[in-house]
Symmetry: C2
DNA sequence: CATGCATCATACTCGTGGGTAACCATCCTA
DNA sequence: TAGGATGGTTACCCACGAGTATGATGCATG
């Protein structure tokens, strides 16, 4: 009964650099570049653009599937089926499942980075800038990529990817802390421990990804607004301020 | 990530029992029942208790592994190896992997339910009762079962288990909302949307499980305290401070 | 001693799913 | 019009891990 488990020396993994289709990734530079009506390379460029579109469709399909069934419960066959193509086609656009998750993560977190950038240009007390960021943050978490952004576990990723993701997350975290500190300095934010406060804010918003479904009656923006009003005023009633604010969260204009 | 098939690394694996982390765990049904010191069934009862202890050790080991590597990245072989037994031994104490997760979940959520029970006996404004609950909540999330409690995805579980878990989670959620409403009535809590506020509170606390590791300098209780103070007073400075206490956690550290 | 139960190990089965090899179709370019 | 890039398919490989069949061991009992 020779049923010894095959322990073939080193299976497969010999192929260094499987990095298949060299993808620029995350850049769509030559979009509205120049007309060049009938250059002989026009077709080539169009193909390239097509490819990018398809690639993004793959990413979105993956995000959708992860969103519904979780990373581990989603097979690449599922994703392929959702796109009505075969599995190798998916592999034609993305090198492996891990990268798929990573791309979803980046797609989710990018708007938040943009929000920080935008806030940096605002001329307003730090609390207002923080609020602006949190608004975008909440919407990002409620977006189709929210799940991937929030639930991408480092445990599921190679050390390299995990490192990238940690760095991006840390950037966001540090940005929130910085705004908190600035707010404490310009007097627009109550004295607090920036680290813990940032954790609390981010946690509450991140958690949206666990319960929010597109079908919900509230939009991501509305939820973000509601959360912000909670954070802003806190649970304790304010004795000598206008407490006449409407109780519902829909009162975006609660700003004092 | 090939799991090395370790063999023979455990010499004379006869007895010695696993770590056996003691800990009666609050469930000693027939403890103070009757003396019967030398009943012929005494041995039998002792075996039963031993079994219970071992079973709990399995659960703890599972929680530990899930905590570190995630549910899907933990094989039952891993858990067995951590206990220095074989896989069928694990199956001897628990029927399948799903149940293992479920048990961890219950172990994590039980203290929170207890906290609600306790709070119900308190004679204090609702805000104080809520704070008491949140304190326990935060500690539970930071506990060894926190991961399982918070990250047990319904996607990973059969509909039946998923239903149980959802029910338990909903119970907690409703409890928080109720306290919020009570607080709004007795005037100890600022007017707010109880649903959204409960989501924000639970989210912030749940998220602790994502970043907290036992090794951290802060204990679960300290973190819970810090969060509570954030929620309590909010970000906006209070003009006529009725002092919600000094700024907690003086670890200001403006470095970086 | 024999019987039965409790406990645990060895050694398997088997479905699933990530990833690949090989091959095919079409269009662009030389 | 050949030859290659591009985009896609079918059919496979195979590691992994959940779960199990079978049986060994030890201990209490009758």
């Amino acid at each position: 009964m020779p049923t010894i488990r095959r322990k073939s020396a080193s299976p497969a993994r010999g192929k260094a650099a499987p990095d298949a289709p060299r993808e620029g990734s995350s850049t769509c530079p030559s979009a509205a570049r120049a007309p060049l009506r009938d250059s002989p390379w026009r077709a080539s460029r169009e193909r390239l653009r097509d490819r990018q579109i398809k690639r993004e469709a793959v990413i979105r399909a993956a995000a959708h599937a992860f969103n519904r069934k979780g990373y581990h419960n989603t097979s690449l066959d599922d994703i392929a089926a959702a796109l009505e193509v075969s599995k190798p086609t998916v592999y034609y656009y993305v090198s492996n499942k891990e990268q798929l998750l990573f791309e979803c993560f980046v797609a989710g977190i990018e708007p938040i980075r943009a929000a920080f950038h935008e806030a940096r240009l605002m001329k307003a007390p730090a609390r207002e800038r923080l609020k602006a960021v949190l608004r975008h943050y909440g919407q990002a978490v409620a977006s189709e990529f929210g799940w991937c952004m929030v639930r991408a576990e480092d445990q599921d990723l190679s050390p390299a990817m995990s490192g990238h993701i940690k760095a991006l997350k840390s950037e966001i975290d540090q940005g929130v802390r910085r705004l908190l500190r600035e707010g404490m300095q310009d007097g627009s934010i109550h004295a607090c421990d920036p680290k813990m406060t940032a954790f609390a804010l981010a946690g509450a918003l991140n958690w949206i990804a666990h319960w929010y479904r597109e079908s919900q009656s509230l939009s991501g923006a509305q939820i973000a607004e509601a959360f912000i009003s909670v954070f802003e005023s806190g649970l304790t009633p304010r004795p000598c301020t206008e407490s006449a604010g409407p109780p519902r969260h829909v009162s975006a204009r609660l700003a004092r």
